[in-house]
Amino acid sequence: MSSSTSSFRAELKVVAVVLLVLAGAELVMRLGEQFLSRDVKHIQEIPAISQSLAGGKGEKILFIGNSQVRAGINPEVIEQELKARGVAPVHIERVFPDSTSLPDWYRVFKHYFVGTSRLPEVLVLCFSDIALQDSSAIDPTRLGHYYSSPSEMPEIMTEDVHDFDSRAEFVLASLSYSFANRMRVRTRALDAIVPDYRDSAQLINRDMKRESYGKLGPKSYQRLSRFLAMAKSEGVRVVVVAMPQPVVYSLDPQIKTVVEGAGMSFLDCRTVSGISAASFADEMHLATKGASVYSHFLGRELAGPVGKAASRDNLTSNTR
């Protein structure tokens, strides 16, 4: 054996140990993924949510959005308001994976609801800022690990994940739990180690957001159109809701045009009487009291579109 080969083989022992350690990390992550964050727990509960929705009685309403939905929408209050306006009975469910935008919501809806034929009558799509734009960030890791099956891969690669590196990330995330959850581990670890990490992370995120805003492409809403068309073909009425933030953001009028052009409803709820910057717990999320005020408001606003859907459904079932 040449000295070159023996040195190579000797170093392979080092490589083997590294691979073993990585395999160990993968095993740990597979066993303990649900303990990583309440967001993972929530995502793992989405199949149960869709099942509950399918088995629910009355008008089935599904809220989809990000953590703004978790913090800002109280289903009981919405139900109460709808009931008060004669829209009853209703069955409300919410899906709110953290830090998500339309690419995720599209896939969540398609994977867990359209794909399983567990459809709501009304889908309330809650967004803020640029979350509906085609150029809003796509996270191939989340798409790969949580919101797709192998059969959906070709479609996702064609529609959402275009460049080689994103596709590689998408495939790796679909295969590896440790890879898919790397950012969650990072956040948890730094939160435990670094003092005041949450506040400083917000500052850093704000800076990165500003940077990424400068790189956004022209405003377009093809994905939103596809989303609305998919919902329409499944007989689901969509209500698109602009959520409030402490600082009122500008809203592109194209969104309303696209939504209404698809025959769906649009509600601009960025500013609500009784909600001010003080009603928020942080830069994004409503605090409990603000959430209650907002949910009462949204319940009243939704009565119209939900009522229409309900009467249309009654009409359809009577005709049948």
Binding site: S2, E11, R182, V185
Partner: protein, 477 residues
């Protein structure tokens, strides 16, 4: 193609497999094609620029070698250098200098219209321009024969591991390795693995993670920052730029090792320098030695010998100003160069040794060594403020905040904790290497310890990806 991208590693795997199956000539053809694909992946249009630059210097070197006339040799050399520097000047400096010229005329009341031409800076143009210039100068000085094979020369210019961000490798080192068949050496895999592992760790785990901290400070309104926040931002940037650039150089060295080619070591633990002179012997070594050999020494040699102190200092300032300008067309870079020039002169003035050569570390006590290292690090960091700031006024405001405002804020705690978490282990490791006086200490110890360290690196790379993947800073130079 970035070294920290998936596409690059697929590309390299294909190159590596082909490389192992080909003979020497085939390897060179394949490496040349691979290098052009690698470069064209950014913007194929700039391939023509690199090809043009290659053809010019290949021909010019042959012309120089083929004539005995001193005048003709000199005129060919000057033509080649003018062509190369014109391309560099056009793409990199035209906007800056035309703007300064217009401002100057405007200041004295003569409005001047200077056409605005916005060029996309070709990646790595400063690197390959300097590399070919060194080749031309070596041929002119008869220190290296003109390369007759165009393929060999084109590969020397474009060899992909170091093409876009160095290290700058001299013809005397790289061309013989290209021209003669390469042999597999016993330690190539081990050394390559070490360079790549440590390079990725530096770039992705330390550099990119601390980039987020540094950027958030440097993008903020400087008036809103406290002095300690400014200091945290500068420290974060100090580690970001070191790990980003030395990480790239290290990966380049590792890739080349796996192709049985040696590149120049570009960094030698620069933050353990105890003096400005030593810092420049440890930081971006290939550029420092380039300026030393092709500019500083020739400047000293002109005029009466030995060179006077004034001439020595003037040469240092010229070299450092140009070194600053090499990094970018902005006054902040020029100031950064000037600052280091002043540091070097200051050190020579207070140093007891005329040569400015620092005392060997072995003669220093550990405490004295550490004190010097810490002091030198602060001086280097002050330079990084000039380097990173987006304007001179930002430098001024941040300096005034540092001097006047000592408020400790939650962000300061977080930023320092993050610097400690991301850069601390590297500093400890490099201190250990420094004490061993051997950059490859890690590959000479028990394999189990190395496996443990690599496992740590792999876990950190897996679980602490940067919030945003960053391109290598030195690509813009």
């Amino acid at each position: 193609m970035l070294f920290n991208s998936y596409i690059f590693w697929i590309f390299f795997a294909i190159v590596f497999v082909l490389y192992r199956r080909l003979g020497h000539r085939g390897q060179n053809y394949m490496l040349l094609a691979a290098s052009y694909i690698f470069y064209g992946y950014w913007d194929w249009r700039f391939l023509f620029l690199m090809l043009f630059s290659t053809v010019v210097d290949y021909t010019a070197a042959l012309l120089i070698a083929g004539t005995g006339s001193r005048l003709k040799r000199k005129s060919v050399l000057v033509t080649s250098i003018v062509v190369q520097l014109s391309l560099l000047g056009l793409f990199k400096y035209y906007g800056f200098f035309s703007q300064q010229l217009a401002s100057l005329f405007g200041f004295v009341g003569i409005p001047v219209y200077v056409p605005v031409l916005k060029f996309l800076l070709p990646v790595g143009i400063s690197f390959y321009t300097f590399q070919t210039m060194s080749y031309m100068l070596d041929v002119y000085r008869d220190e290296y024969p003109a390369e007759k094979s165009f393929v060999n020369f084109a590969l020397f210019v474009s060899f992909f591991p170091h093409l876009v961000a160095g290290p700058l490798v001299r013809a005397t080192k790289l061309l013989p390795q290209i021209a003669t068949p390469r042999v597999r050496r016993p330690n190539d895999f081990r050394e390559g693995l070490y360079y790549i592992a440590i390079g990725l760790f530096k770039k992705v785990f330390v550099g990119d993670n601390l980039a987020a901290v540094a950027n958030s400070i440097f993008h903020a309104n400087p008036h809103s920052l406290t002095g300690l926040e400014c200091i945290a931002g500068i420290y974060a940037f100090a580690f970001q730029i070191y790990c980003d650039f030395s990480g790239y150089s290290s990966i380049a060295q590792g890739l080349a090792k796996w192709l049985n080619i040696d590149l120049t070591t570009n960094f030698n633990l620069p933050y353990f320098a105890t003096s400005p002179t030593e810092f420049w012997r440890r930081w971006h070594i290939s550029l420092s030695t380039w300026f030393r050999d092709y500019l500083y020494i020739p400047l000293l040699k002109r005029g009466p010998q030995p060179a006077t102190r004034a001439r020595l200092f003037a040469s240092l300032i010229v070299v450092m100003l140009l070194s600053g300008l090499w990094h970018g067309a902005a006054w902040t870079f020029v100031l950064w160069g000037l600052y280091h020039g002043v540091l070097l002169i200051g050190y020579r003035l207070i140093s007891r040794k005329k040569s400015g050569v620092p005392e060997p570390q072995s003669t220093l006590s550990l405490a004295s060594f550490l004190v010097r290292v810490v002091v030198m690090f602060q001086l280097v960091c002050l330079g990084w403020l000039l380097f990173r700031a987006e304007s001179i006024s930002q430098v001024g405001i941040m300096l005034s905040r540092i001097v006047l405002d000592f408020h400790w804020t939650p962000f300061v705690s977080s930023a320092f904790a993050m610097i400690l978490f991301f850069a601390g282990p590297l500093v400890i490791y490099e201190f250990w290497v420094e004490r061993h006086q051997d950059l490859l200490s890690l590959i000479r110890i028990d394999w189990r310890v190395r496996a443990a360290i690599y496992s740590y690196c792999a876990l950190m790379l897996l679980f602490f990806p940067p919030p945003v993947s960053n391109v290598f800073i030195y690509f813009q130079f």
